[in-house]
Symmetry: C2
Subunit: 132 residues, 2 copies
DNA sequence: CTAAGTTCTAGAGTTCACTCTAGGTCAAGG
DNA sequence: CCTTGACCTAGAGTGAACTCTAGAACTTAG
């Protein structure tokens, strides 16, 4: 009896997972086709997908990556590394460090942009105010 | 003699402006078609565009807005407000404040994402280290 | 058992922000 | 002049990330 076997896992239909993850049913199927899941999704005898809590957690991570502008291709690459199992941590680290560097640069740039926008707002406020 | 008339302004061909702004020649023509310039671009008798320093400065601003993910439609709306002249500062402020709020949220989210990424990296580094 | 609501696949369609093509016209150096 | 490189317009094409469609199969409440 392995540790995994002791974990009672809820299951979800694709519609339920869509509601939880915020992705559309279509998007979930498309994600699977793009190789964005680190495990094969089991099916009912009739062919319908059965997702588990692991998928819920994985999608939370994917959402983070996507919302921070990681391309789907990179998410797919990462998923495939996880799928391949232990031993490729160096590759995973490289991928994540690359994204972290992108995020650092992006954050800096957005902060600079916010400054510019703020200055514009101040400028227009003054323009309005000076028109007694 | 107005103040403007005293400003000696350099002119630029579309190719020069492309080099300066980092946009392609195609993109600049497309920007004009999208209404992203707050003034009509003058032409030579032969029909070629003549840009001035004002266009250079305007594109620097547009680049900031675009790089901070403002949709072209919003940049067009802003350009049209500037084109319309003084008196619509409230609209300009509303547009910029909306974008500023978006930026604030985006910056927060990217910082949170960076944390998640950093944790992943740390986790993988440990996994590598523990495999003596 | 049946009807309604989900889910299935394969593939076409959409949106955004360009990018590229075709078939010319213009401008500047020699 | 003439050539060559830059520029013109209109419109088609691209890549990313979905979104939607059609027609069929599955599932479940009654």
């Amino acid at each position: 009896m392995t540790a995994e076997a002791t974990i009672a896992e809820r299951t979800y239909t694709i519609g339920e997972l869509a509601a939880i993850s915020g992705l559309s049913v279509h998007a979930l199927r498309w994600y699977e086709a793009q190789g964005l899941f680190p495990r094969d999704i089991p099916r009912t005898p009739g062919g319908q997908r059965i997702f588990g809590d692991e998928a819920v957690r994985w999608l939370a991570l994917l959402n983070r990556l996507r919302d921070s502008a990681m391309p789907v291709a990179d998410m797919a690459r990462y998923s495939q590394l996880v799928r391949a199992g232990e031993g490729n941590e160096a590759d995973r680290i490289a991928l994540m460090e690359s994204h972290a560097r992108y995020l650092d640069a992006q954050i800096e740039e957005l902060i600079a942009s916010r400054e510019v926008i703020r200055d514009k707002i101040i400028f227009y406020r003054r323009a309005v105010a000076s028109r007694t």
